[in-house]
Amino acid sequence: MSDPSQPSSAAHVRLGIVMLCHNELPRAAKLAQVWAAGGAVVAIHIDANAPADEVATLRADLAGHEDIVYSRRHRCEWGAFSLVRATQDAAALLLDRFEDITHVMVVSGSCLPLRPVADLRAFLARHPTRDFIESVTAADVGWTVGGLNEERFTMRFPFAYRRHRKLFDRYVALQRRWKFRRHIPEGLVPHLGSQWWCLTRPTLHAILADRRRPEFDRYFSRVWIPDESYFQTLARRHSTQIESRSLTLAKFDGQGKPYIFYNDHRQLLEESGCFVARKIWPNATGLFAHFPRPLIGEASAAEPQPERVDRMIGQAVARRKLGRPGLYMQSRFPRKDAENGKTSGSYAVMQGFSDLFPDFEEWLADRIDADVHGHVMSKHGVEFAGRMPIGPGGLSDSAALRDLDQRGFVANLIRISQREQIVQYSPRDSQDLNWFMATDPNAQIFVITGAWAVPLLHSGMPFDDIRRVAAKLQRIELAQIDILNSVWLKARTRVWDLGDFCSRPSGVMRNILRDLGGEPAAAANLPQMREIAGMGRFLQRLRNAGLRPQLMGEFPVADTMPKKENI
């Protein structure tokens, strides 16, 4: 046996390929020739279900190849032991028939070699005693379909998963309920991993010639998906050096089915430096024409670098599972609180400011890097910045259109805009999104409670109407404040009452500008503020009319009614 640190020549490696074929036999025939041409010996297992005429064609196509042999055919069913049986027979055939074989690798009829077969041989020559087989203890694996990890080994599975799904599920549930457990043969520690392995001759031989093999086979024949556990478990028993990874690039798409490669993945696959990739879409003729790359010069034993592929597939899996935050669309319409991000970016809701400062929007827009809108939830229509009839993304200023889907309106506004969105809000506006915004970590909510009283003070409406409106607005704002005080609050909120704010407006605005990423010093020159002299008297009149103002804070009753010149 050679020293692993001394790269030995690829000539010392004789590679045996077990090729498991179910359909697409013409493609399989071509691939078998590719392996044979690269100096490997191929044992083909053809599913007994494959159509006879295709089998005959395949055999005719491959006639004359001494290094392509056929193993005994089994009827293969997904998830059943027949696949292991097929692999065992084919592997045994290889070891018996070809004494010079040093490694055996399992591939399928839809596994495409990317690099020259000589590269793989050179790579194996560099690690002559390593068994490349992904093998993870069942207890730690956590990636399998249907949540069955350890239970694969301790339950019975008499019903086919794909054909009798309901029975399968019910029987599993029943066994869980009755705490049924099969006995695992002594000395075995269940391991799981990819069925696309590459073992050294000694290890494979030891597995196949194990004294206790009848016992193990009997046991595994009742384990679920044994092709992902039989060799993975037994290699642990016999191998001296397990390298727990697969030399085949075979990824899952997060829903338990193999990831499929297409023509447009050509460059990605080429750069991955992987030896073999699966699955390839059968009609991806561009890939089949391009790969495997021809051997130019010396064979390369370079390590595969599948990180980019991993990243791409990882992103795809995340896209399917988590989606993009704040996106509501035809194929992503999350239930309430399952949004994984109610909105896509931060935004601010400012309540009461425009009631105190008539020119607040322009003032703020000059001081921070953000789109400052008016009351976008106003019942009369959407007040976009600059009062444009069409807002970001083509959103309409029609209140009726917005109200068809308010959540979508806000999410669209935020998602389509490059800059932070700031909106004005008031108890006069539609309140349906209060919970949505309060439970959204992207929201910053600044409230001056009771500020809605300032325009009322100056409204000149008959006092009876003012009282009625004030009662209504107060009720609405109290309900909103309840939400902002709830334990489910996720938004960053700051609440001042009117009296509090008016006592130190510059100080408060300085903090707000800082929170919004502006320059605090810019709060020095505040915009023109509406007159609040007379607020104390006004509140007292409301009290006298039987309404208790709760949100405005402290104003001295003694001050006078607003004078004409103050308005």
């Binding site: 795809a316 599972k321 989606g323 669309m329 319409f333 993304g393 083509g394 959103l395 029609s398 068809l404």
Partner: protein, 322 residues
């Protein structure tokens, strides 16, 4: 019941060119109804042939522009003719349901209008068979593709559409992010509205605005039936083309080449016939809009680039089909 209606309507369809014997088991089929749309047909057939549609099954509702004769000559088209009322056949869907029942079972079936052009993730590098194979492997039976209204910059009629041309060279703009979505509790489908038509014509009564949600691609079974256009189907599990736990399923869109120079004559004609939805409310609105030279374009309009642009905007999704 809907299926019974559809089966009863079969007698009203007269085969003009029946090449359905040529349909092979794994073929992907396209179903549509046309009326006086000959000018659109060459580009339409070319577009979908390139995508990998193997057979077109068409109901012609009384064309008099030579469209029927044109289709009858095409080797991969089967065409039936009827002079029945479009409206009484529930806007043609009864006819289509019959054809789907008779020829669609076991096939992936794409049901579109002649002005709808399917876009799906990777459509520029993968034929539709790649998509349907993947859907099969994922045990997905229906694929969502919302309608995306495309329009030119300037007046709709300004640049004439010529037979065989790419309509999206002219109508190359769309609205990126003004779509409203609501879930239909009864059929489980999403109602999607919005886009240029809604903001231009239905701002005060958006409920009347056209529905943009479509499920045009379905692996058909005998027990399936379209309920209302291709907006929704039965059984209703087919309408759940969206994920409700925050994830994204794969989806595409139908680029809608309705707003071309051909539109003005079409809308006048449809208005005359009153054969469309809600007494052609849509067409009435358009026509009044058009007389004042309708221009959908606004500063927020985006020029169509490719499917990746739509994916970035979140109008379609790759799901986990990367």
């Amino acid at each position: 019941m809907l299926l019974v209606r559809a089966i009863r309507r079969r007698r009203r369809l007269r085969p003009v060119a029946d090449r359905t014997k040529r349909i092979r088991r794994s073929d992907i089929l396209l179903f549509m109804t046309i009326r006086n749309e000959k000018i659109r047909l060459p580009y339409f057939l070319e577009y979908y042939r390139r995508m990998g549609i193997q057979h077109f099954l068409v109901v012609d509702n009384g064309s008099d522009d030579g469209g029927l004769e044109y289709l009858a000559e095409e080797p991969d088209v089967s065409v039936w003719s009827t002079h029945d009322s479009y409206k009484a056949s529930r806007f043609g869907i009864d006819w289509i349901n019959w054809l789907l029942y008779r020829y669609g079972a076991g096939h992936w079936c794409l049901t579109v209008d002649p002005d709808e052009f399917l876009i799906y993730p990777h459509h520029d590098s993968r034929p539709i068979k790649a998509l349907t194979d993947w859907l099969d492997a994922s045990t997905v039976k229906s694929f969502s593709a919302m309608l995306l209204d495309m329009y030119p910059k300037g007046q709709i009629a300004a640049q004439p559409y010529l037979e065989g041309g790419d309509p999206f060279q002219i109508a190359s703009w769309f609205d990126p992010a003004n779509y409203t979505i609501r879930k239909n509790g009864e059929y489980w489908n999403l109602w999607i509205q919005g886009g240029p038509r809604c903001r231009a014509f239905f701002r005060d009564n958006p409920e009347q605005g056209p529905a943009l949600n479509k499920i045009p691609l379905v692996r058909w079974e005998r027990s399936y039936v379209y309920v209302s256009s291709t907006h929704m189907l039965l059984p209703r599990s087919l309408n759940v083309v969206y994920d409700e736990d925050g994830g994204e399923k794969a989806s595409g869109c139908l680029l809608h080449a309705k707003f071309l120079s051909t539109f003005e004559t079409k809308s006048a004609e449809e208005l005359e016939r009153r054969q469309h939805y809600s007494d052609s409310q849509e067409y009435m609105a358009y026509h009044s809009g058009l007389q004042e030279s309708q221009d959908f374009w606004c500063d927020e309009s985006r020029r169509f680039e490719d499917w990746r642009q739509l994916e970035n905007l979140g109008l379609i999704s790759k799901g986990n089909w990367a």
